[in-house]
Amino acid sequence: MSKAYFNYAGKRLLQAIVVILLSYVFTFVVVSILPGDPITNVLNNPQNGFTPDEIKEIIAAQGLDKPIPVQLWNAFSGFLTGDLGLSMRTNRPVATLIAEVLPSTLVLASAGLAVALLLAAIIAYGTQFLPQRFGQGLLRGFPSLFLSVPNFVIGLVLIHLFGFQLGVFRVIEPDSFWATLFAAIALGIPISAQIAEVLIANLDHESGQDYATVARGRGLSQMRLFVKHLLKPSSLPVITVVALTIGELLGGSLITETVFGRNGLGSLVQRSVSTQDLPVLQAVVSLAAVVFVVVNLIADLTYPLLDPRVKLLGTQQRRPTTADDSSLPISKAVTP
């Protein structure tokens, strides 16, 4: 790859690190500096039954007696080395708590994304090839329909229909293959809508372009035109959309986990919010920020590799002008 690409990648990497840093500091500051410090609130709440000595001990253990910048530094250096502190509710390391539930959430989120991509591809393909009278118009309505139904409703319907009525999966075994699949479908449907919308709009746009007409004039079949010409330029912007839906995928998986009774990041967050377990929340929020930034970084870095038109900053090639049409005079170019 060119030097310009590495320059660009370096810059984007630096930006990503700054964003992660800022988001960490922001959550930290919101939690510890704003008045009505929730940590001491929890400790001082007589209902929780902490004795003053215990309070001191906990505060010392959490390092809350040190000045704020020192606290921030300790927490952040811990975050970088994987030490996320201790959960206030369970007194276990936050890292362990997250590690226990993360695989389940990752499986659900990636399965959800796969469902979303597949569904979007099927819908978009249908809008291009299904004849008008076989419901092409109906197909075009699907994305807005999908977007307007919240995924917990889809989840409940799926559980009722396939779990209780048809018995495809047992509701009390939420980690079984079929249960996971239906959870992924519930999660993937609203996300597929956004991807399908972009894909359909791009396919419509690209197939109206001159080059598509010219390629048809060259004798290409509709199918070859779609596969060879339209698919790539139409799919490139989808990378960006997918990267942006990662946040939704995480948020959606929290809801879907609750609906399907899965023990994942979602249920951990839910428990931690209700007990104001701040170290866990801080860790989860920061982790989400890291995931979001990293995914978008990957999207930004792959884009220039896939689209030859993207000009990277500082590498602008001069667009050739007529002066460069150095073609030989025609008489000389003729091969005898």
């Binding site: 001159d210 007409t213 004039g217 060879k228 790539k232 007529t322 073609s327 025609i330």
Partner: protein, 567 residues
């Protein structure tokens, strides 16, 4: 068609035409754009469909190739080699495309897939050949690239479209069209997006390939001069119907329809002296130049731009004078520095070195506030009237804006000035309340001219004022401009790449190439005795076949100041 009929057409009598259209009509939904068109194109011959925008010429080309958009519907007969095309099912028609009928599109810049290499797309065309070996097919592609005058075929093969110039891309597209050896080539305005010198080379290439490969050519063009030079026969279209058809010589020497005669009169290349009476006063001003100081003085002006750390000299040591009441043309291809030169003149950019004066007042080195007084005397009419007028304003407000800006006169005086400017450009007052979208291209450009007139300027900079317009509309606008020059003694700077048009209306000419003025002189000197090879190559790009049909006498002037018909 009965089987035995098909057999007889298959035996294909030598006299039968290659392409024959009969009663061809095309409608988009219920809107009919082509009505009952018929023509014949013989083997190895060329036929030009000419007409202005909206005449249905491109629609006919697309109907022949069955590339109409989904809403378009063609009826009638189109026979290719004796076989009816329109009624064929899609599966049976597809083998015709590419293999037997090649297509060369209008805009080479958008006609190749931007995210695939030229080679990948060329191999698609090559797959139509009966050649099983991929390596041999590739060799054929490279050979064809060389044949169409691309001097580094392998580099072209590996390039993406955005890495090549428009002229090179059009060569590639022509190469892809002729590669499967079709017997008919449909070329839809193949040169209208290209510079003039490139235009000539591309047309030469098409003529050469037609001869070498015995290909028939269906040429779609708005440019009568090109049709006169390149086609054996001509079909003149207007509003989707045929006005006139026949051999090129007949249509040009004795046009029988009113429309063909009017088109003929409007084409600059065919009528170099059309506006001679209107230009006389300017030539008299020019003859008296020794006694007066010039209206515009440009001395040793240089402008550099820094792009990616590299210094690019857009305008290099440019000097010229323009006498009051005359038209000075800046000609050159894209990238020659014309646009930068006028931006410097208008004070929109500051020159690095040199001096610019308009009416004795220095333009360069002034702040925008100081320039306001200069701008009152210096106005610009922009290239594209479709984008240069605010679509949300009505025409009266658009024309009046300069008066409001410079706080000139009372409300009533401003309204009067607007009406006077409107009358000057030949627009009716009933149009004042319209929005630009409700006007035709020609009316819009008249509005733009009216807007530049209300301040009573001495100098108007015309940046390709007619390049977005049809020839007949162009003729109207040119006539308005020249009449105003005579009436108001205006000085014009006219920027154009169209040499035939420059010859019709300019008094003096500067030829620009790569930021320098390579030659300048009176219009007679430049066009009759060019000294520089570059000027000569530009002049040669004016379709020369047209010279046979050119008139040397000025046409009778048309009445242009009557109100335009409402579109």
């Amino acid at each position: 068609m009965a089987p035995q009929d098909r057999l007889t057409t298959f035996l294909n009598r030598p006299s039968s035409p290659l392409l024959r259209a009969e009663g061809l009509s095309v409608a988009y939904g219920t809107h009919r754009v082509v009505t009952n068109v018929g023509f014949e194109l013989g083997r190895g011959k060329s036929l030009a469909l000419i007409g202005e925008s909206g005449s249905g010429k491109s629609t006919i080309a697309r109907a022949v190739l069955r590339l109409l958009p989904a809403t378009g519907h063609a009826t009638g007969r189109v026979e290719f080699d004796g076989e009816e095309l329109l009624g064929l099912p899609g599966r049976r028609f597809r083998p015709f495309r590419g293999r037997r009928i090649g297509f060369v599109p209008q805009d080479p810049g958008n006609s190749l897939n931007p995210v695939r290499t030229i080679g990948a797309q060329a191999m698609e065309a090559a797959s139509l050949l009966d050649e099983p070996h991929k390596a041999l097919r590739k060799a054929l592609v490279l050979e064809t690239f060389a044949q169409v005058g691309l001097d580094n075929p392998q580099r072209v093969y590996d390039s993406y479209p955005h890495q090549l110039s428009g002229g090179m891309l059009q060569r590639v597209l022509i190469g892809l069209a002729v590669l499967p050896r079709p017997s008919l080539l449909v070329a839809d305005e193949p040169t209208s997006a290209l510079d003039v010198t490139i235009q000539k080379r591309i047309l030469d290439l098409l003529s050469k390939l037609r001869e070498e490969l015995q290909i028939s050519l269906l040429l779609i063009t708005h440019d009568l001069a090109i049709a006169a030079e390149r086609a054996d026969s001509i079909v003149v279209l207007k509003d989707g119907a045929i006005q006139e058809a026949g051999s090129t010589a007949t249509v040009f020497s004795a046009p029988s329809s009113f429309y063909a005669r009017k088109l003929h009169g409007d084409v600059p290349a065919l009528n170099p002296d059309r506006y001679r009476p209107l230009r006389e006063p300017g030539f008299r001003h020019l003859d008296a130049r020794r006694e007066k100081t010039p209206k515009i003085e440009v001395r040793g002006v240089t402008k550099n731009f820094t792009v990616d750390g590299k210094v690019l000299t857009a305008v290099n040591d440019v000097s010229f004078d323009v006498q009051a009441g005359t038209t000075h043309a800046l000609v050159g291809e894209s990238g020659s520095g014309k646009t930068t030169a006028i931006r410097l003149l208008l004070g929109l950019e500051q020159p690095d070195t040199g001096k610019i004066a308009v009416g004795g007042e220095q333009v360069n080195g002034k702040s925008p506030e100081q320039l306001r007084s200069v701008w009152r005397h210096l106005q610009l009419v922009y290239q594209n009237p479709f984008t240069s007028l605010d679509p949300t304003w009505n025409v009266e407000k658009i024309v009046r804006e300069p008066l409001d800006r410079f706080k000139i006169g009372t409300d009533q005086e401003r309204a009067l000035a607007v009406r006077k400017a409107f009358a000057d450009v030949g627009l009716g007052e009933h149009l004042l309340s319209r929005k630009p979208a409700a006007l035709s291209g020609g009316q819009r450009q008249r509005v733009a001219i009216a807007r530049s007139l209300v301040l009573k300027p001495d100098v108007i900079v015309l940046d390709e004022p007619t390049s977005a317009l049809d020839v007949s509309v162009q003729a109207d606008i040119v006539e308005v401009l020249l009449s105003l020059q005579v009436k108001l003694g205006l000085t014009y700077i006219f920027v154009s790449h169209d040499l035939a048009l420059v010859r019709q209306l300019a008094h003096t000419v500067s030829v620009m190439q790569r930021g320098r003025i390579v030659e300048h002189g009176t219009v007679g000197e430049i066009f009759d005795t060019p000294r520089q090879p570059y000027t000569r190559s530009l002049l040669e790009s004016i379709p020369s076949g047209a010279a046979r049909f050119a008139r040397t006498q000025p046409l009778q002037q048309r009445q242009i100041f009557n109100e335009e018909k409402i579109a």
